[in-house]
Symmetry: D2
Subunit: 469 residues, 4 copies
């Protein structure tokens, strides 16, 4: 019998902030040895000339999530996770969304059904809390935490989701007492509604007005408010999909005051601008997501935040809608006002290559920071570490094996999601995930899936680790 | 033949931000295997119940450094590094100090003689540049960098050391073009001299006036000025021994602007205050170092900076002088004015236990952050990584093996330096380094040295790694 | 016939930032001459040895205002303005408060009835907008502005008053288009309610918990939010009764960004602290007002804001309730929880002497700044200038004649309001208003009223002047 | 005998932040009456339809100042003050410059000779302290202050002028103890020299490199440093000719901390940019002054600073050199490197019209703020108030009488200085000073001088007034 089920041999392996030449020995899906010249495995993967990084953890994505307006997402768990693993992501954490009036448990069960036997990647669930009734707060959420659902997302905008200030405070109290992390979508609902009505009543309905209806000040205000709630309750929070300088200023200000404010940003805030919404050929709706992309000056500040520690998490916020689909971006017709267009863009598969190329290859981001942002820190924050997010003895054998020098151009035709476009079409990147390994099995090689759907496993999350740095 | 020269077995090993249970296989002084149930080694170390962390890197200490005023340091390389290894530090980077008029190479050679066959720890040298003549700038420093002396310290104060603004700019230019990191002692010399004369002429000469002669504003000003030089030259710098909120404000401000400003702090700024200088029994001179310790509010801001990323390095700034020694603190007599008392306090052996206890044990600092600050980041910044500062295949087998639960009280009688006091006498800490391992050899166990002096090796530094995060 | 109805002779008169020796000639209630050695008047007032300043304008006071909880204010227009003029204030701007469901015009008419033939001081009205229905926004408010009610106060807290974010935006739009200034009471209602319930459920009901239920963060958040609304609508606002450093930080931040944010503070934030609420003799309720007084560190920041331009207005926020009165502070009994005690403290008569003494006499505030804060700037901001707030040809002959050297101790027994206490009892001040002159008539001398009630006139306000500096 | 020597009748007169319709009665050069329908004067000036403002005080200008490099200023006291009064300025404060090795008194006497019987405007002197020897510090400066020279300017750059940090501290100590105000030219000399050598050695010598040799960071650093000295000595200072956002950030930061930092800016920082230095026709040297003009973003921040209180003084920094003159801008030839071109631009006559037009006429600045910045505040700061800088009984009868509606275009041909260009050629402004009155005499009307040179008087300054706001 071979010493190992599998040995990955000859690669440069990322451990402890360093790329070191070593072999990886795997047994029963776990890493059991790191060393020079390991004995043979039943299977051998030749990683020479390549980099072996921890598999990506995409901590913010929407898959097969029912929408209250009737829109239907283009990706279910099968297509979404197929896309994820082809982009080097081995764990995804989509949302189980409670609708108003619904039990949290009903939502959890619904999502388990949607995911069951479908996923290529391992997966956990965040809960979206949209109706924090006393029962939910006192009974359902504490129990859900105990059973491995240790992160809640709350919305400060969207009519069907948003919590008022009091509800946010009460939800934070549960997170504090029962040990969860709260993710906050921070935009001021009233301001957006008011601006939207002003714009629409002036006839401004094309996609570029989406950005004008959600200016930075609206995000900054809600960010400041959420920080205040975190301060009053004395519990950490994470601000999701931070788009630019104004929200960053608030977050940095809070951290200098000693508050535990975490922050996430996404590819759209470093690779897109609001100019994309102003598409002369009428495809601005491709880029409608919230908050909207800002401008180049903001991109630069986001990069600085990635580099210097404002951000701990870089996620896709994958929210997939087909373009001409009457159940997608064209829900209310092709000429519907921006406010009627489903929000969100796809990004599960492109997240890692985009950041690797613009960050690591081009020298804006250390490799250690790249791995932290895309894998280790989300695993730690969301209670999956050290099972996930790290190459260490005992951890799951999840890897993205990179050819750091491969140069290629993003084309939707080559992607594996079920969405009919990518907002990043035509961008050339350097760095490609040639193989993705989950629990010791190669799930894709060069874009070909080597396992059946359903091989991904559900993960129960432990308590969040707030001591990231 | 055993597979390994040595195996450390059964410990919780810190790799990649995590403590994982695994064995460490060592051959020829290097880590060659990490795994569960490794084969036997010629030597076996039982680490069960303990934590195996990377050996500490103390990147700021003064050993056997000749002083222009005739003072003599209490520690030479033998006693200083003996103390270091007993405190869990495996690599030290003291200073080779150029005197005005002296060649840099003469300084380097002098220090090699002082260190040769004396050191228990591995060691590299920073250069102190006090006379940046054209020859030094154009010839000596670039050559020194090429030969492994890749960090310079410069002073903005001290009559015999300080550079003027122009000299600093020119030294930074060399660092930029030849690839070194510049460490800056940031205090405004003229302000200190002026305040000192005012105080002394008013009869205020006792040690507490040391702090009044060097208020925070004096440090803040020089910090801002150094940042400006870094910005103009477009080269990173590191501000050493940052003492409190005012300098931190400048550093954080610079980082938010995208500048590459690194920062170090020391035990004296989190465990001492200026009240210690005001000793009714006349021992205030024990605590005279520059910048001086501040107050509790500043300590809190320093802690926040350690926790949130202002600081990358936590060093001892060990500068050892005996108390009643006419070549030490009493150089000009026991009642000499504060301005005549040699600056500096010892700290090589207490650095790690103090921070471990107040930080990790008491929950102010994650273990990952502790390791980064005391080992990994200094190794990376100063070009010793991944040989030093990390537990990874191929790295030197340098470890501090901790009993994380041992509680003990610091007493100078138990320390291994040659200084007649410790400023931390009587502080009770939890966490103790029971064994220190350098290149696979146990150099101390429970405070007993197990090797001969001179076992430490000289290290040539590579280019600094500025992409820490 | 004498050249003047009245001549004030021989005083040091404050004009254009200077105290100059000159006479003031008055005819028909207006200043018609300033000069050396003016001709005789029918009446002569000898001001030699004294300072003649513009009469005070108290732009924030509550008089005879019906409360939705049944509490009854201790002062009506007669007693309140009697007190005001005895303290050197010649113009007051109390509030005409719209209740929910009520027409703004009904509120205005109600207050005119309450004030008519009662007032010693001249008076205008701010409107409190608590129910911005479409009719109110589109019709009533624009018409009210046109008729001289050019300032609205809105509340972000208090159940019966508070507007939601959308209502605030819409009210600001009216202010922008029709030319009014909006005053904002900035505290987060939900946070206060939540904290109050937490405290009360823990049995913490004594007055000191009033401050704990309304911490600085709650005020800061609402201030930041109000600033955001001002920014989005692009209209100036004024934050009333700012209590300390946290809100000030937001205001200064906004002003540096070029936003037109004005701010007011009150005597309670420089002369009281939250310690007053913690009265061992059970009189903490004397000091219950919102926001609550903070601590000495905050006082210092408020002083700096008064001195350097954060604040444009220093008002009393006079809100008078008797202590043991079942219609006053004891509305729900003497042992009622802090949340049931009517908010507010008296201060019309003590506002000017307190600030004069601690500011001008003690050298913290220039005389020019004192006059701006207490008279000129409120007159300008609220559209009463140059009729009020200045000593200039054509202005109303309203003066406070001060003995700048008189030292006296505040005692409620000597005050002229109808409230049974003053929170400033026992404070000794230097500087006393010996005579108050309104439109050329001496209304009080040494605390004796020399005119009948009803001599005060109603003032219609012009558009606000936002170019204060 | 008429009641008044002169009456200015029917104008709108600026007093106490307001324009009021009144007559001004003058006797013996002083204002003795303000009133409606004053009696006749021996002379009558009809100001109907016009605005009567306090005469301008230009607190920063260089006249007939000998230069150590041999350059000769184009304006002496006659031509400079002729220009000043034609632009509405009635008081100038040029510099009496001490050269190294020279007694302060020798400098004062030299300048009195230069000014005597030459000036059209009243004048005082600032002292430039370039050699603070013990005699100067202990004897000459205190005596000079006692005799009416109560402001010192010091330089942090310029080889022949600059003080080192210690000298600055000692000069500030004299200012503190003897009651003077110190004006600081804040740019880091070493940085400028170093950058200049780098640029010149790369062949970059044309005028646009003047701006690159003095970037904002160089000014910001020196500003921060000067603020630190002010803080340590605990004495107010004024930063002269602040050019943009970076220095402003430091000044605002200092003021928020409670420090008494005053600031001045000049027309070049709101009406010119560094693009002017990049003149394709080779006239960039016209615009060489230090600090250099910045860009439009900086202009906007300077405007905000003028509007919100960062700045107290708006001066010309008139430093006149002829363009093709071998004793002027062409001192070292027309193709000399930027570093050899005399620094400075003319501006005495254009200062008030430029700010009035862009500020008051265009609504960026209130009239009160305009008067404060250009007249009242400099008079107060420099100890000339209330004799100068205000329209009040007892003050000197100095006025600028404005036609606020006159629109005209600046042309050097129409100006009254002796310089062969104006940097503001071709700018159209609205607002013109039609008459200038000094101590009751009309000195110019519509650009024609009505008095002889020498009518201007020397003014001794009192202690500075630091309580401006």
């Amino acid at each position: 019998m071979a010493a190992f089920d599998c040995v990955i041999r000859g690669g440069e392996v990322f451990v402890s902030q360093a790329l070191v030449r070593c072999d990886i020995g795997i047994r029963d899906g776990r890493i059991v040895a790191l060393g020079e010249h390991l004995d043979a495995g039943d299977e051998e993967i030749d990683a020479s000339g390549r980099w072996v990084l921890p598999g990506g953890v995409d901590a913010h994505c929407h898959l097969d999530q029912p929408m209250s307006d009737g829109a239907v997402m283009a990706d279910n768990f099968e297509t979404g996770t197929r896309s994820a693993v082809c982009g080097g992501t081995t764990t995804v954490i989509p949302f189980a969304c409670q609708f108003k009036g619904q039990s949290v448990w009903a939502a959890i069960e619904d999502y388990h059904q949607r995911a069951s036997q479908q996923s290529y990647a391992d997966y956990a669930f965040h809960l979206i809390v949209s109706d924090p009734t006393p029962t939910v707060l006192q009974d359902e959420l504490p129990r859900a935490i105990a059973e491995g659902y240790t992160s809640f997302k709350i919305y400060m905008t969207y009519e069907d989701m948003k919590l008022n200030d009091r509800q946010i405070l009460e939800t934070l109290m549960v997170a504090k007492s029962a040990g969860a992390i709260v993710m906050v979508h921070a935009e001021n609902a009233d301001c957006i509604d008011w601006l939207t009505e002003l714009l629409e009543s002036a006839g401004h309905t094309t996609p570029e007005y989406h950005a004008k209806a959600r200016p930075s000040a609206v995000e900054r205000e809600a960010t400041h408010r959420a920080i205040t709630f975190s301060e009053l309750v004395d519990v950490p929070i994470l601000i999701v999909h931070v788009s630019g300088a104004e929200a960053i200023e608030q977050i940095d200000w809070a951290r200098r005051r000693g508050l535990n404010i975490f922050a996430e940003t996404c590819p759209q805030y470093v690779f897109l601008t609001s100019d994309h919404l102003h598409d002369p050929e009428g495809c601005g709706h491709k880029f409608i997501c919230s908050p909207p992309p800002r401008d180049q000056a903001n991109q630069k500040v986001v990069w600085n935040g990635l580099r210097t520690g404002t951000f701990q998490v870089f996620s896709s916020d994958h929210a997939p809608f087909n373009l001409d689909d009457p159940k997608g971006k064209a829900l209310h017709g092709k000429n519907a006002s921006f406010s009627k267009i489903p929000n969100g863009i796809p990004g599960l598969e492109t997240r890692l290559p985009l950041l690797f190329s613009a960050g690591v290859t081009q020298g804006q981001l250390s490799l250690a920071r790249f791995v932290n942002l895309t894998s280790t820190y989300p695993a730690r924050l969301y209670g999956l570490f050290p099972q996930k997010g790290v190459i260490a003895i005992g951890a799951d054998a999840d890897f993205a094996i990179w050819d750091p020098h491969a140069t290629w151009t993003i084309a939707n035709a080559d992607l594996h999601h079920a969405v009919d476009y990518t907002p990043y079409e035509g961008i050339t990147v350097t760095g490609r995930v040639t193989e993705t390994v989950i629990r010791g099995r190669v799930v894709q090689r060069d874009g070909r899936l080597l396992v059946e759907k359903g091989s991904g496993q559900f993960l129960r999350c432990h308590a969040p680790d707030f001591d990231l740095m």
